[in-house]
C-alpha cells in the first residue's frame, strides 16, 4: 500500500532571525492548517496510509481532529515510533523510521535546517519539502493541497520517479578524518566560538563558505554564491568562497529583509567529490544557516561536495506528468481515479 510520511517541525520559524532580521513567523497552528490541506490532497489521490513524526504540539493529530465532518479521512494514520526529545533529533529519527518502513515519499514542513536533519535519515526516499522555516533554499513555497497531491501521485507510482524526482547535492563535513555532519545548501565557517542562538546574521564573522547551490533569488549565504557565480541545483559543481579582503563585493540578502554588503577575497568552483579544507581554527561551522559544528584549534576539518543528497519531488512536474501522461501511465490513471470521478 502506498505510504506517505509527514515530518512537520514544530520548532521551525521561531529563532532569533525574527529579532535580527524580519524572519517569517510560522506559528504551529498554521502548520496544522497546512498539514490539513496536505492530508486532503493525499486523500484526493487515494493515498491510504500516512506515517507521521509525533511532536510536542501534536501537529498531525490536531490537523486530523480539526477536519470538518464531511472531510473525514478514510486512511490509516500512524505515529512513527520514536522517543521525543523536543530537539532537531526528532526529525532525524522520524526519517530513519520512515526509511526502515519504506514509505514511498516524505513531506517535510520546515526550513533548510529541518530538511538537513531529515536528509540524514531518509536514505533514498523522495522528499517533498514545504517551506515553513526562515532561510528556505531547499524547500519550496508550495500550497499544501497540491503538495499532498504531488506526493500522492509519486507515492502511488502514478508517475515515474524520473524526471519528476530530482537528485540533489550535499556537503559532508569531516573533522579529524571522520564525517560528522552534512549540509544541503551551504556550510559556512565562522570566526565564532559559540553555537548560541544558532543563526548567522553578522557578515563580519564570515571566514569561508562552501555551497552546493546558489542563485541570486536565494536567501542566506547561498545568495552570495548566486551573485558571484550562480550554481544550479543539478549542476555538477559547487562554489568555495573565502571572505575577507574585498577583492569582490556583493549586496546579498543573507537573511529575510537583511540585505548587506559582503566582502569576498576569493571564490572558485569546486567539482563533485572535491574536498575543501577549513582554513581557520578554532571556528564554528554553520550548516544550512544554523551554527552547528564546533571545531577546536587542533582539529582538522574539511567540507566535501557530493551528488548523493536527498531526492526531491518537483511538485509542478509531478502533477503535470500525472495529467499529461508524458511520463509513465499518468493521465489515464489520474483521470480514472481523480479528475474524472463521477
Amino acid at each position: 500500500m502506498a505510504t506517505v510520511g509527514i515530518i512537520a517541525n514544530p520548532a521551525s520559524g521561531k529563532d532569533i532571525r525574527r529579532l535580527v532580521s524580519y524572519g517569517t513567523v510560522f506559528d504551529n497552528q498554521e502548520k496544522v492548517n497546512i498539514v490539513r490541506r496536505i492530508l486532503l490532497g493525499l486523500a484526493a489521490v487515494k493515498v491510504k496510509r500516512i506515517v507521521y513524526m509525533p511532536d510536542y504540539y501534536g501537529i498531525v493529530p490536531k490537523a486530523v481532529d480539526g477536519l470538518k465532518s464531511h472531510d473525514r479521512l478514510s486512511m490509516e494514520i500512524i505515529s512513527a515510533d520514536i522517543n521525543l526529545t523536543g530537539t532537531q533529533l526528532d526529525s532525524y529519527r522520524a526519517a530513519q523510521v520512515m526509511e526502515s518502513c519504506k514509505v514511498d515519499c516524505i513531506i517535510t514542513l520546515g526550513g533548510d535546517g529541518t530538511n538537513r536533519m531529515v536528509a540524514k535519515g531518509c536514505g533514498s526516499i523522495p522528499l517533498l519539502p514545504v517551506s515553513t522555516g526562515t532561510n528556505n533554499v531547499f524547500p519550496s513555497m508550495v500550497e499544501g493541497t497540491v503538495a499532498g497531491m504531488a506526493a500522492g501521485v509519486v507515492a502511488r507510482g502514478i508517475v515515474n520517479h524520473f524526471p519528476v524526482v530530482q537528485p540533489t547535492k550535499k556537503l559532508i563535513v569531516y573533522k579529524n578524518g571522520l564525517p560528522i555532519d552534512i549540509a544541503l545548501v551551504d556550510a559556512v565557517v565562522l570566526r565564532d566560538k559559540f553555537i548560541g542562538s544558532r543563526a548567522i546574521w553578522e557578515v563580519n564573522h564570515l571566514v569561508q563558505a562552501v555551497v552546493s547551490r546558489g542563485e541570486p533569488h536565494n536567501i542566506g549565504i547561498a545568495s552570495v554564491a548566486g551573485y558571484l557565480k550562480p550554481i544550479g541545483v543539478t549542476d555538477k559543481e559547487g562554489l568555495s568562497i573565502e571572505f575577507g579582503r574585498a577583492n569582490y563585493k556583493v549586496l546579498a540578502p543573507i537573511a529575510p529583509g537583511l540585505i548587506v554588503p559582503v566582502e569576498i577575497e576569493t571564490f572558485q568552483k569546486i567539482r563533485v567529490n572535491e574536498k575543501v579544507k577549513v582554513k581557520s581554527t578554532p571556528c564554528i561551522i554553520a550548516l544550512d544557516g544554523e551554527r552547528e559544528v564546533e571545531v577546536n584549534e587542533k582539529d582538522e576539518a574539511y567540507i566535501e561536495l557530493t551528488f548523493d543528497g536527498p531526492k526531491v519531488v518537483d511538485v509542478k512536474a509531478a502533477l503535470r506528468a500525472a495529467v499529461d501522461g508524458s511520463h509513465g501511465s499518468g493521465m489515464e490513471e489520474l483521470h480514472k481515479e481523480f479528475v474524472l470521478q463521477e
Partner: protein
C-alpha cells in the same frame, strides 16, 4: 556576536552565585531555619544571567515568585536577600516580605511578586515611564509559561505594542505551571507564537544556553533602546526542583527530568570554558570557593541580624 573571555567568566560567576545561593536556601529551608516559602531557580540560571548581562542599573526588571536568580543577576545584594529570607530587620524588606517580595529600586529591581503574571503590567508601566521621560532605559519582565495565560500578559503586550514601549518580555518556559504540564493548560507549544497576535517579534531560544539567551536579549534590548518597541523572548528551560521546596514532584516524568539534568546550564558553561581554555578546572573551583565564602558570609550576616521590632509592624505598610 563577540563574547569575551571576561564576559563569559562573569556569566559563570553569576550563575554559580545563583546556584550556590539556592542550594543554601534549600538546605536552610529543610533545616527549618527560614520562616517563609521558597521557590528555587536551580536549573534556570542561564536565563536571568544572559538577560541581565545586557542591562545597567538604570534599567528595570520585574520578577516572579521564583525571583532569587533575577535579583542576583541584576546586582542585588545577597546579604540583604539572605536576611530577608530569614525574616530579619536587615533584609531588603526589613524582614516583612520574605522570598517573594524582594525589591531594590536603586538597582531597578521593581520587585519579586507572589501573584502570577502581576509583573507584566508593572514592567509595561516602567517602560512607559522610560519612554515618557525620554531616557534610553528599558524594562524587562520575567514570567513563566503559566503567566502567559493571564489577562495581564495579553493586556501588557497589547499596550506595549501599541505604545511601542521599551520592554522585553522574557518567558521562562520551564514546562510546568506549578504541577500542570504546559500542553494541559494552553493550546500553543511555543509561547513566542503569541507575539504575532500583538505585532511584535517573538523568538524561542535554548534557555539553558547562556550565550543563546544573551544574544537574543542583546538584540531585543538594543531594539528597545532605539525606540523600536517591545519583544517577546521565550527561553525553554527546566527547574531542577519542585515548584516549591517540599514539593514531591510526582507529576514530573523521571526520564524527562534525567534528560534535562544532562543539559545543566552551569555544567554546560563549565565545559565550554575549559574547552576554550578560558579557565582551567582549578580556576573554576576557585570561583566556586569564593562564591561559597560570600554565601556563607551572607548567611552569617542574616543569622546575626536582629528580628524586626514588633513596634514596626505597620511601618512602610501605608504610604505617608
Amino acid at each position: 556576536m563577540e563574547i569575551t573571555k571576561a564576559e563569559l567568566l562573569s556569566f559563570y560567576e553569576t550563575m554559580v552565585t545563583i546556584r550556590t545561593f539556592e542550594e543554601k536556601a534549600a538546605e536552610l529551608f529543610a533545616a527549618g531555619k527560614l520562616p517563609g516559602f521558597v521557590h528555587l531557580y536551580i536549573g534556570e540560571e542561564a536565563v536571568a544571567t544572559g538577560v541581565c548581562a545586557n542591562l545597567t542599573d538604570k534599567d528595570y526588571i520585574t520578577s516572579t515568585h521564583r525571583g532569587h536568580g533575577h535579583l542576583i543577576a541584576k546586582g542585588g545584594r545577597i546579604d540583604l536577600m539572605m536576611a530577608e529570607l530569614f525574616g530579619k530587620a536587615t533584609g531588603y524588606c526589613k524582614g516583612k516580605g520574605g522570598s517573594m517580595h524582594i525589591a531594590d529600586v536603586n538597582l531597578g529591581i521593581l520587585g519579586a511578586n507572589g501573584i502570577v503574571g502581576a509583573g507584566q503590567p508593572i514592567a509595561a508601566g516602567a517602560a512607559f515611564a522610560c519612554k515618557y521621560k525620554k531616557t534610553d532605559a528599558v524594562a524587562v519582565c520575567f514570567f513563566g509559561d503559566g503567566a502567559s495565560n493571564r489577562g495581564t500578559f495579553h493586556e501588557s503586550l497589547n499596550m506595549a505594542s501599541i505604545f511601542k514601549l521599551p520592554v522585553i518580555f522574557v518567558c521562562e518556559n520551564n514546562m510546568y505551571g506549578i504541577s500542570n504540564y504546559q500542553k494541559n493548560h494552553m493550546n500553543v507549544s511555543d509561547i513566542s507564537d503569541r507575539a504575532a497576535a500583538y505585532g511584535i517579534p517573538g523568538v524561542t531560544v535554548d534557555g539553558n544556553d547562556v550565550v543563546a539567551v544573551y544574544e537574543a536579549a542583546a538584540e531585543a534590548v538594543d531594539r528597545a533602546r532605539k525606540g523600536d518597541g517591545p519583544s517577546l523572548i521565550e527561553c525553554k528551560t527546566w527547574r531542577h526542583r519542585g515548584h516549591f521546596e517540599g514539593d514531591p514532584c510526582i507529576y514530573k516524568d523521571p526520564k524527562e527530568q534525567e534528560a534535562w539534568l544532562k543539559k545543566d546550564p552551569v555544567l554546560s558553561l563549565e565545559k565550554k570554558l575549559t574547552e576554550l581554555k578560558f579557565a582551567t578546572v582549578v580556576e573554576l573551583e576557585e570561583i566556586k570557593a569564593a562564591v561559597k565564602e560570600k554565601i556563607d558570609s551572607a548567611v552569617l550576616f542574616a543569622q546575626n541580624s536582629p528580628d524586626p521590632d514588633p513596634d514596626d509592624v505597620l511601618t512602610d505598610v501605608y504610604a505617608s
